[in-house]
Symmetry: C2
């Protein structure tokens, strides 16, 4: 690890949660495109790889047995069951981003967020609400990939996810993706100015005021 970057500032763990269909993935992608100081950590999952996905880039695709082993070895910061598969945030991947001097964007649900908060109380948690359940259903149906039954399960799951909004530090309603991205970016830029994270200022101020 580069000592300088560790001394200069403390990297942020920036959590984005929302029900599926509220636009979180779009916002995450837009954020990454507009902020060089932010990177996703590559998670591990037991779900099958999809066409176009790359192992080690989109996810680390692992077997159930391998995932169990990684859990037992304490390799995860948090992990959760989602629709029959498991997803987990790897400690080493998060460290890799922090050590590169960037902040980490984590796209996880309320369960993962609660686990992460236990491990690191300093995380920043942002929740994105859809404008309405009707709009959420419209967005899920527009994907055209799910049966009515799956849509209903997703809607129930969305309601359960939404019920945890008040456990987050910041909450937004996503009426417009670009406006929402701008607000989330504001939060990120503001959090970087927190006194507790600007470790280098201790030296800066000592040098500045000297023995006055």
């Amino acid at each position: 690890m580069e000592i300088a970057s560790a001394i200069l500032r403390r990297g942020l763990l920036f959590v984005l949660s929302s029900p599926s269909g509220a636009g979180k993935s779009t916002i995450a992608r837009m954020l990454m495109a507009t902020d060089d100081g932010l990177a996703l950590s590559v998670s591990a999952t037991t779900r099958p790889i999809r066409p176009g996905e790359v192992d080690g880039k989109d996810y680390y695709f692992v077997s159930d047995e391998k995932f169990e082993e990684m859990v037992a070895n304490g390799e995860f910061l948090e992990w959760a069951h989602v629709f029959g598969h498991r997803y987990g945030t790897l400690k080493r991947e998060v460290l890799k981003v922090i050590e590169s001097g960037r902040d980490v964007l984590l796209d996880i649900d309320w369960q993962g967020t609660q686990q992460l908060k236990q491990v690191d109380p300093d995380i920043v948690r942002v929740f994105i609400l859809p404008p309405s359940m009707a709009e959420l259903e419209r967005r899920l149906r527009a994907r055209g990939t799910d049966s009515d039954e799956v849509i209903q399960r997703r809607m129930d799951r969305a309601a359960a996810e939404i019920s945890h909004w008040a456990e987050y530090d910041y909450v937004l309603i996503n009426n417009d993706a670009e406006k929402c991205r701008e607000l989330v970016h504001n939060i990120l830029k503001a959090e970087r100015l927190k006194a507790t994270r600007r470790v280098f200022l201790h030296d800066f101020v000592r040098e500045m005021i000297g023995d006055r």
Copy 2:
């Protein structure tokens, strides 16, 4: 008080501190000009009125005796001695702004900020650092109003003020007024999205998820 605005959101007390000459007043003026949702509360002071100032607009100019009486009556949220005069933030003025549905910008020093934090732990505290003491001295001298001795006293006072930077929530270095204004505005906009302040979301979410 309008019940609706009290229920919809909780107004922010937004504190801006810096040593004199670090550009705080300029930043405050620029912020007020770019954000309609922000207002200054009119403070009381015992210092003499200056040409061009308006009583009740720039300050409430009061006598020492009157100020004492107001302190005794508990009319202040905070007050402090600055260069032989007293300055205080009036409870009724802050309430007036909050009740109009706006956030309050408070231009106070570290002593006032500590007092205010005791009264309301929910305040947001921003500290603005000058880029260097040399630059601070240059700015103080550029005003052309103070003797060398007064400048030296101001510099000592500045160092004392700066030594309290770590008691603030956010800290910025003012290298450029417009950039600094933008960052302070980011902080304000982000703080407005704090879950604890978005009281209306409790009803919004209950309506939204219904009995799902």
